[in-house]
Structure formats: C-alpha cells, structure tokens
Symmetry: C2
Subunit: 408 residues, 2 copies
C-alpha cells in the first residue's frame, strides 16, 4: 500500500463531466488499497474570470482582497470533487487553506508555503477518507487568505506529499508528460520517460508549462518522487527523479522557452562594488522576480548591466530601476518587453563540450540575433526578439537531434 | 457618531455596477462620521447557481460539502465590495466566517450562530476600516464551514450588530420597507413606517420575504433597532421596533402568506400523553422545522393531529411520520403539498374582538375552504388550497381596511 498525493489542474476539473472522471480515477486508485490525498485547482478558467471580475470592479484591486477572491475558485472545486467521491461511495472531505491550515508568508499573490498542518489530513487518511485540498491558497499570520502564485497548486501538492511522507506526488494535467519541447510548436517533440530534477527545474522555469517551478524545486529539496501524468488518458507519464549517475544522460534533453519576458538594461554605471545590489534591491523589495542577469564590463570605469523580468512586471521594474539608477550620473536605462527566452537543457552538458557552439551556429544559420546569453551547469539560455522565438526553438530542436526518437 | 451595521442582499450586490453603488452608499455613510460594518450576501443568484452545480455533480450532495461550496458565494462578494471601497479611498477589509470566526452549531445548511468573535471587527472599526463580512456562513466546532439557511445573512447582520453594540442594524434590500402585504400580489398594499418586533416576526415568518425570521427574533431578543431600507433608492424604510404602549396599534397591520407549505395529518392515534412528542420527535431530529400544529380531539379515544412543514421537506417528513405512526394500530397518515398559508397579523388584535369573525366571513364570501386554523396573540393563520391563495390575500387585505391609506 502506497500513500499517493495527486494534483488535478484546472482543465482536469474543468466541467461536471471532468469532475466525475477525476472522482472515478481517484476512487479506482484508492480501491487498489492506496491511501490517496488530492489537491485540486480551480475549475477551468475560473481564476482568470475572477481576476477579470476584480478588474471590472476596480482597475487595481487591493492585493489582499484579490487573494481572498481568487481563493474561492479552489474551494468550489474541492467541494465538488469531494461530493462526487462521496457519491461513488468513497468517503472524502474538502479542506481549504484556513481549515488545515496551510501557513504562508504574507506576500499577497506570491506567498510562500511555510508550514502545512497535517493532523487533519492524517486523520482522514487513517480513517479511509480521501482529503481533497484546495491548491494555490494559504493562510498568512493573522488569518488572511493568500495565494501562492500561478501554478501554485503544484507546490501545494508537493508540500502535502512531503509533510505526509508520501511515496509519490502525481501531477495530473492535460499533457501526458514532459516533452523535449512544446509539441504545439514543434510536432517532432517527444515525451521523455524521465528527467532529472535539475533538468525539470530548468525546463519548468523556462516555461515548458508542465510543472510549476517552485514545486520542482521543493520536490528536489525533499527528494520527493514527482510524476507528471495525463488526467485524460492512461499512461506512464514522465517521472522526475534524482539523477542516476550510472546512466549517461543525454547532452541535451529538451528545449525550453518563455514568451513573457522583458529585458531592462542599465548602461554606464560606475564599475564599483555594490552597484548591482543597489540597482536590484528595490526590485526584489517590490517582490519582482528577476530571471537572467548579465553584467558586462566593456569599458574600464563603467559597467553595462542587463536583467530580465516577467512581462507583467516590466513597467514597475522599469520605474524602480530608473529611480535606482538616477543616483549614478551618466547612467541610462532602456528596456524592451518584446523579447523571449530560449534555453537548451541537459544534464549531460556538464561533461560535453561544444554545446554552446552548436547553439550559436544553429541560430546564426537562421539569422537570429542573440540579445543576452546566460549559462548554468546544465542550461544555456539566450534572449531573442519575440518574433524569432518559434524559428529558434525549431532550429535548436533539430540541431541537438531531438527530432529523432532515441532511447533515454 | 453612530455605529451602524448594514446588510446588503443578493440583488443589492448582483452586478459590478451594483457593487459600485453599494460601495458609494457605504462610503457616504462612513463619510458622515459613522462607524460602519457591512454584511453581504452572494451576488444575485449565485447561491442558486452553486446549488444547481452541486446537483449536476450529484443528485444528493453531501451536506458538509454543499455548505463548503455555498459559502464561497459570500466570500466573492465580500472581496469585491472591499475592493470597491478601497478604490474609493475608504479603507475596508473582507472577513469570512472562518476568519472572524462566526461560530455555529454543526447542522449543515441550518446551523445556528452561537458566538461571533468581534476582536477583529472592533480593531477595524477603531482603525477607520470598514469590515465587510460574509453573511449566511459560519464555522462549526472542528472548523467545518456551515451555512445558516436561506436569508441567513440577515441573521449574521443582527448577530454582528448585537456583539458590536451597534446603534442600528439596517437591512438593505430590493424593497423599500415592510408592506401590509406583498405589493406584487395586491397593488393597494402600503409601506408601514414602523412595525413592532412581534408583528414583523409574524410577517417574516409567514413569508413576507423581507426579513429572515430568525434575524427578527434575534433582534427582538436583544432589543436591537432593525430597519428595512431599499439599497436602490433613498427613503426612510420601515423601522422594526419595540411596541410603543402609548400608541394604539392598528387591529391588523398586514396580511402575510406563504406558498411553500405542505400539510401532514395523522388520524386515529390514541388519546394518551406523549403521542405528539413521539410523532414530532423524529421530524425535529431530522432538523425539519414544523410550523403550524393543530390537534383536534373529535373522538373520545383517538386524536387527529395535523402539522405543516416547508414543501421541500414534505417527502422526508411524510416518511418519518409514517414510521412514527406505524406503532399505533389504526393510525393513518395523509398529506398534501399543494397548500398555502395566509395570516392576518396585528398587535392590536390582543384588545379587539371580532378579528377572527371577519376573517371567516371574508373567506366564506369568496367560497374559500379553510383546511387548518391556528391562532396566536397577534396572528390568525389559516391553511388554504394553493389555488385559492391569491383570492384569499386580496379578500383579507380589503376586509381589514388595509387598501385605504391611514396614518399609523
């Protein structure tokens, strides 16, 4: 008997028919003797509709109230899934974040899970009851409802799996696994039977959209077995696991990309300690996540400094950067929010040379201009104009031989 | 400076435009220097739509999960009203029942408020923040969400007013006060400038639909000043107040009615102590409210026993009654769910004879058959066939001179 945490995303519970399908699936798993705890997202596009409703009421809704509003979406789906399970004769109980509670920081819209109280869940599981927990939401000190950012239900699921010491955390979604790149863009893309935590981290972070970044990070930190599966059709999915040193990893596992990027460049700041800190501090204080950071010292006394943020944060980040840069005479701030990021990801990159060369060659052949380059041990990311994104992804998928099915 | 609790019903917050209108109204009241706490219902027909959604998922939704589902409706409107107020520069904060908390009994769908924790509300009011509280919902011991029955937001408002020691509790709705009867049925119906708690209690209980029964009871018990106002147009509304002994009350203030009745009759049960208890106990255990109870001893050794329940509870009540009556040989159980109740209500009835005579005369002229009669100090209720309801109400409104405007 295993203890399995399953998370069903918005499209998996997007209609009454889907809720029945999901309940049947959970009931079947529990019927095999497994203990099952479930995390659900809001139905379909509920969260988007609630955001729209809030914007109709006021253009810049109060962050605390927006969280209180959005949290209702998941409460609705937990109650419906629990009802459907009870209807099948499978005892179930809905839980929201205030009830468990799931404690988070107080950053409205971007809260972080700090603690999950598992007493109620353990009692349910011991009593043969399937707990159905609202994803995406939390409770800040003082009792405010918070949300933990888009895709946060994945993180809720992993947090629950960790605290319950589950055998596996399954993310059920509308895709049947992790692909070498987005199959909607590249038809030749292939499902990977397994990827390492680190690769997944890079793939998710770059916008492969299958799993929420923080959930992968979280699972990696606690060694939680994470599996991506389709809730629409049976299949093994993709297992995200610790890297197995005995198996030689492929040089490049996949191509990730992210359209919603914006770049800000600060040129002509003095080349002295503390400059990067002074410029980035106001941005992190504004709870804006900075992604790529590239610093280039082309001149003796001044530094050029570029970084990327999510496109939604562009205007705010630009203003904060202008304020911060104003103290340096001669500094100029420019920006562009029509950029996209492409990354090649692969654990095998560590021990293979020539990966970068092939990347630059492939993009050169396509006449695609590279705006920024940033590298990590298992990833090379480049920033390109948004209009070049699709050609860049296709070219790289081909260049690294991902179009051809190989055993992994 | 007064402390006022305002409650806005579903139609008052039924659209984005209505939410803005309500926020403007609250802001204006607070702008006059009053401390204002607000209770809101779910937007428009949200509760009905959620019930429908639940029924689509399963015909008989689990009661606990149904409550968890329904409670989200009020959470949505509190967040939106708080946003709209913040937008106007009036600080506001949404509260749900788990957050305050509002503690209730555990009867899903029919919970009773046991305690309202006012610390958070008092802090808000002292800090110039308008607390916007979700009506209709509560928290049972153990943390389950509960709901306190249809129209329960009125009760939430009175409970808050009592615990905050408010100067007045205002129920803002889509009618501008309490009428002599439903103006949709009788165009000659008139708004009453004030009614006594007792009259209101009878009027609300009989289905005048302006105020929730329990809220009036609650306000009466604690001597809370309660006012019914329109949220759509300004006006004095109707004040529901302690009876003023110096003013002579009219004999009959209004005609109340209720379509959703069902009657159950048990005939031929032995005439011995404990029979009524034995028959009604299973029904009250099923948390079904019994309204009229009429016992008639026409024969020496047996008793005929009739009572009414809400039409929704008819089938369940009928089954429970059949089970209970089965132990008495010769007892028979019959029922009819096509009945309606009409009542004449007036504090002046106490000191006036002939009220009942006029009632029977008016119904006789209309050839309306009276199925049951039940009297209290300030009310005479009769049960008639549903098809006769409208003619009965019109006839009585005329018979007691309510068609003619008189100073009250």
């Amino acid at each position: 008997m295993s203890l399995i945490v399953q998370k069903y995303g918005g499209s998996s519970v997007g209609s009454v028919a889907r809720i029945h399908a999901v309940a049947t699936q959970i009931d079947a798993l529990a019927g095999k003797g497994h203990q099952v705890a479930v995390v659900v997202s809001a139905m379909g596009d509920t969260t988007d509709r609630l955001v729209e409703l809030a914007r109709e009421v006021c253009p810049e809704p109060d962050a605390r109230e927006l969280d209180a509003l959005l949290a209702t979406g998941e409460m609705v789906s937990t109650a419906l899934v629990a009802m459907a399970l009870n209807q099948l004769g499978r005892k179930a109980r809905s839980w929201n974040a205030l009830q468990l509670p799931i404690e988070t920081t107080a950053h409205a819209g971007r809260a972080r899970i700090e603690r999950v109280e598992a007493t109620g869940l353990k009692k349910d599981l011991a009593g043969g009851v399937v707990p159905v927990v609202a994803g995406f939401q939390g409770r800040a000190e003082g009792g405010d409802l918070t949300t933990i950012g888009r895709g946060g239900s994945d993180t809720t699921a992993v947090a629950l799996a960790v605290v319950l010491e589950a055998d596996e955390c399954q993310i059920l979604t509308d895709v049947d696994g992790v692909y070498t790149t987005d199959p909607r863009m590249v038809p030749e893309a292939r499902r990977l039977p397994c990827v390492s935590f680190e690769e997944m981290l890079e793939l998710a972070g770059q916008g492969s959209r299958v799993l929420h970044l923080r959930s992968v990070e979280f699972a990696a930190r606690y060694g939680m077995k994470l599996r991506v599966l389709s809730s629409f059709e049976p299949g093994p999915g993709t297992l995200i696991c610790q890297e197995d040193p005995r198996v030689e990893a492929p040089v490049v596992s996949g191509i990730a990309f992210n359209r919603d990027e914006a770049v800000i460049t600060v040129a002509g700041v003095p080349h002295e300690p503390g400059v990067a800190h002074a410029i980035l501090k106001p941005i992190s204080h504004g709870a804006i996540e900075v992604d790529m950071i590239v610093v280039n010292t082309a001149h003796e006394k001044s530094v050029d400094f570029s970084f990327t943020v999510h496109r939604d944060d562009y205007q705010q980040a630009l203003e904060l950067t202008r304020e911060a840069a104003a103290r340096y005479r001669g500094a100029s701030v420019t920006g562009d929010d029509r950029v996209a990021k492409v990354a090649v990801v692969g654990s095998g990159m560590r021990s293979h040379a020539g990966v970068a060369t092939r990347l630059f060659e492939a993009l050169f052949i396509e006449s695609i201009n590279v705006r920024l380059v940033s590298t990590s041990e298992i990833k090379i990311s480049v920033l390109v104009a948004e209009k070049d994104l699709e050609r860049a992804v296709r070219a790289l998928h081909r260049a690294y031989g991902l179009d051809v099915a190989v055993s992994h």
